[in-house]
Symmetry: D2
C-alpha cells in the first residue's frame, strides 16, 4: 500500500466561481478520486488546517506527497516547508504540479529561482521525450490539452535527471513539462499542466502520468542509512 498525501492550498476553488465550476470539491479531492485504489491510499491536506495539514504525524505516514499551490505560497510557514523538504531528503516522494514551481518546498529543494515565462490559456501538446521512463508508460508519443496556461522557457531549474515530457504551445513556446530530480533519498517529479481554470486533472493521460509518478516516487526499501555525517572506523587508516 502506497500512502499518498495530496496537499492543496484550496483558495481559488472557494473564491472564484469559474474555478469552483471545474473543481467543486477542490483540486485535491479530484486528484484523490482518480488516484485511490487497492494499492494507493490517499489523504488530503489543505492550508487552512492546523499546521497546514502537514503535522509530523502526517508526514511520517506519507510515502508520496502531491503539491498544488499558487496564490498562497507565502502563507505556508517556513517551518512546514522545511519539514516537507527534510522528509523528501529522507526518502518521501514529491510530485509538484503546475504553479507549485514557485512553492517553498520545491524552491528549497531546487536551490534556484524556478522562474519561467507565462501567459493565459493556450492549446498545448505534450510530447514524450523519454519513452523508456516508468512515468511515460501507457502515454502516447504526444497528446493534446485544448486549454492550459502557457509556461515557457527558460525555466530556471537545475538540470533534471530526465525530461520525460516537453510541452508545445500553439502561441509559439516550448517547455520542459515533465522533469525528474533526485535529492538525497527522495525522488521528485515536476509536471507543468494543471491550471485551476481548466479541467486538466480530468484528462485520462494526465491522470495516468500522475499515477505512474506515484509508483515511481515511492521510497525504495533500503538497508543503507543516510542523513548524518559520521566518522568511519577503518583499521587500515594511516598517514
Amino acid at each position: 500500500m502506497i500512502k499518498v498525501t495530496v496537499w492543496n492550498e484550496f483558495v481559488h476553488e472557494r473564491e472564484m466561481e469559474n474555478v469552483r465550476a471545474v473543481y467543486p470539491d477542490g483540486i485535491h479531492n479530484c486528484i484523490k478520486d482518480f488516484l485511490q485504489s487497492d494499492e494507493i491510499e490517499v489523504r488530503t491536506a489543505t492550508l487552512d488546517m492546523p499546521e497546514s495539514g502537514l503535522t509530523e504525524e502526517v508526514i511520517a505516514d506519507t510515502d508520496v506527497m502531491i503539491w498544488w499551490g499558487h496564490c498562497a505560497h507565502d502563507k505556508v510557514p517556513d517551518e512546514i516547508a522545511l519539514r516537507v523538504k527534510d522528509a523528501v531528503l529522507k526518502g518521501m516522494g514529491l510530485i509538484v504540479l503546475h504553479s507549485g514551481h514557485h512553492s517553498k518546498p520545491f524552491k528549497l529543494l531546487m536551490g534556484t529561482s524556478c522562474d519561467l515565462q507565462w501567459r493565459e490559456g493556450d492549446r498545448e501538446r505534450i510530447w514524450c521525450t523519454c519513452p523508456n521512463h516508468p512515468i511515460a508508460q501507457g502515454i502516447p508519443e504526444s497528446f493534446e490539452l485544448a486549454a492550459e496556461e502557457m509556461y515557457g522557457e527558460y525555466f530556471t531549474i537545475p538540470k533534471p535527471d530526465d525530461v520525460v515530457f516537453t510541452g508545445w504551445f500553439a502561441g509559439g513556446e516550448v517547455f520542459r513539462s515533465g522533469c525528474t530530480f533526485t535529492r538525497d533519498l527522495g525522488r521528485i517529479f515536476y509536471f507543468q499542466p494543471g491550471h485551476e481554470e481548466y479541467p486538466t486533472f480530468k484528462n485520462e493521460y494526465v491522470r495516468r502520468i500522475i499515477k505512474n509518478a506515484v509508483y515511481w516516487a515511492k521510497p525504495v526499501t533500503r538497508k543503507n542509512k543516510l542523513g548524518s555525517p559520521h566518522a568511519v572506523d577503518v583499521p587500515e587508516a594511516r598517514i
Copy 2:
C-alpha cells in the same frame, strides 16, 4: 580582468597554533597570493568584517567567489548567505572548498544535506575522471596529497554536471572530489581537498585546479536576461 573575492571564516588560523604554522596569514591570503595575476584581481573577506565582508558593493564587484569555512558556518548570517546564493543565480561563479560543503550558501544552492563521511588525515590520490574539462587542463591523470582529511561517499549532493576529479584514500574510501554544478546563470565548483592542518593550498596541482576553476566559473557575457517571470506578448496566441 576577473575579479575574485576569497572568503575565509579565518578562525582556525587564529586559534590553533598548528594551523597558523601552515597558513600564518590565513588560508585566504595564501589563495590570494597564488591566484593574483595580470588577469585576476583578488580581494579577501572574512567573517569578522562588517556584514562578514560581503556587502552588496563587494558582491556586485565580484565575478567569482571562493569560499572556505568550517567551524563557524552558523555564524554567517542567513541574510548574507542568501545574498551570496542570489548573486550566484544571477551569474557570479562560486568555488567551494573542502569543509565548505556544509556552508550555508552551498547548502542553499544544492537543496540537499551535503553530508559525507569523514575521518582524520590520510593519504589521498586524486584521479581525473573528466580529462576534457577546462578545470582539468594541465593536471596529470592522478596526483597525490601526502595528507588530507578523508571525505568519503555517500556524498548527499544532487547529481553533478561533471565529476572532474575522484579521490582515493589509503584507508579505503572514494569521493567525488571535484564536482561542477550550474544554478540559473551561475557556475559552481566544489573541490574536496583543503583541510586547514595540511599545506594543500601550496600544492602546485591544487593551485592550478583552483586557477582553472576561476576561469571556468567567471560569468559569460550575455544578451539574455533571466531572473524574473514575465508574460510573453505573442500575437499568435489563441485558445
Copy 3:
C-alpha cells in the same frame, strides 16, 4: 517471467586449469544457477555454438542478455554483434560484465573506445554512489572483494546515466564500477567485477547486484513505437 540469456565466450574455463577450478561448469552456468528463480528463466549461450548461440530466435526470446567475454572478442562475428546491438535499441536489456567493456556489442552501443587501465589482482572495495537506484537495493554502503583485477580510470565511456558503484583498489586506483546507460529503448548496465580467476560471482552482493540489474533492465511494456523515422500527418502544418 523474465527471460535471460547468459552469453559466455567460454574459453578460459576450458583452457586454464586455475580458472576451471573456480568455475568448473563455466561462468555462464555459475550465473545461471544463482539467477534462476520462479520469476527469472535462464538460458545460456556460448561462442562455440552455431551463430555464437545467438540466433534470431534466441534474441527474440530474450528480455535481458548478460555478456561475459575477454580473449575472444574478435571471434564474435560482426553480424552477431550488430544483432545484439539492434536488439538492445529495440528494448532488450544488456548487462555487460568485467572484460566485456571491450566486447563488440558494448563498444558499438557506446560509440567510444571503452579503454581503461588495468593490472593483475588487487583488493577491491565497492562503494555505492547512488543508494536510491534499484540496482543498489540490499547492498551495503560498501563491500569488499579480497581479489579482483584492477580496472582504473580514466575509463573512456560516454557519461553514464548513473554511476551506481565506484570501485576502490588497494594499489591506489578508483573506477566507475557500476554504470547505467539508456540507448533508444534499451537499458544497459556495465559492472566491473568478474575476473575469471577469482570467485567473484560467488559473492552474495555481486549476485544481488546482477539480480537487481536483471529486474531493472527488463523491457517496459510500451504503447509507443520507435525505431523508424516517419513523416507526421499534421493538419495544422503550414509554411
Copy 4:
C-alpha cells in the same frame, strides 16, 4: 588559429535547381564564407574528392570538422567514417548539421539509431534552453526561421550533455535542436536547422551558433594521453 574542415556531400546543389538557387557554390562554401576569420582557417571537402576529401593528412590537420550530408550517407566508405570517428575520440571537434543525424560518423559515435520524425517545411522557433552555454552566447531567448524542415521527437539519441536549443514548429512538434555530447576527448554538437532548400545558413543567429560551436569544440591543450589501455606500475599494489 582554429583549423576547420567543412565536409559536404555536395549532391543536391548540383542536381536540384531550387537548391542551387539558394546555395550556388554549395552549402560548404556558404559556411566557409561566414566562418573564415583571423582566428579560423577553413578548408572544404566533398564526397567526390579522392577518399571523400578526408585523407589522413586532412584529418590530422583539422581541429573541428563540420558535416553536412543527406541523400548520399551510404556513399561514404565505412573506412572514412571510422577515420572521422577515431579522430573525434582523439580530440577533434565535430559539428553535425541537420540531416547529418543519419550520417555514418554520427551514428557510429552515438551508438543509437538517431531516428526522428520529419515532414516538409514549416515555420520554426528556436528557444535557448541552456543560456549559460558558450554556444548560446549572443543568441536571444528565441529566434525564428520562416521555413525549415520539421524534425520532431522522439529523437533516438543518447541523453545529451546539454540541450542548448529546443525547436518549436508551427505544425505542432518540438525537437531537441541543439545537443552537445562528449566522446572520449572529442566534443560533438548536433544542430537541427539547415535543410538544403532554405537559406538557413544565411541567418545571422544560425551563423553565430555555428561559429560559437567551432570555438567550443576545438581540442583543449592537454598533458593527459588517452586512447590505449595500459597496465599501471604501482609500487603499493598488493593482494
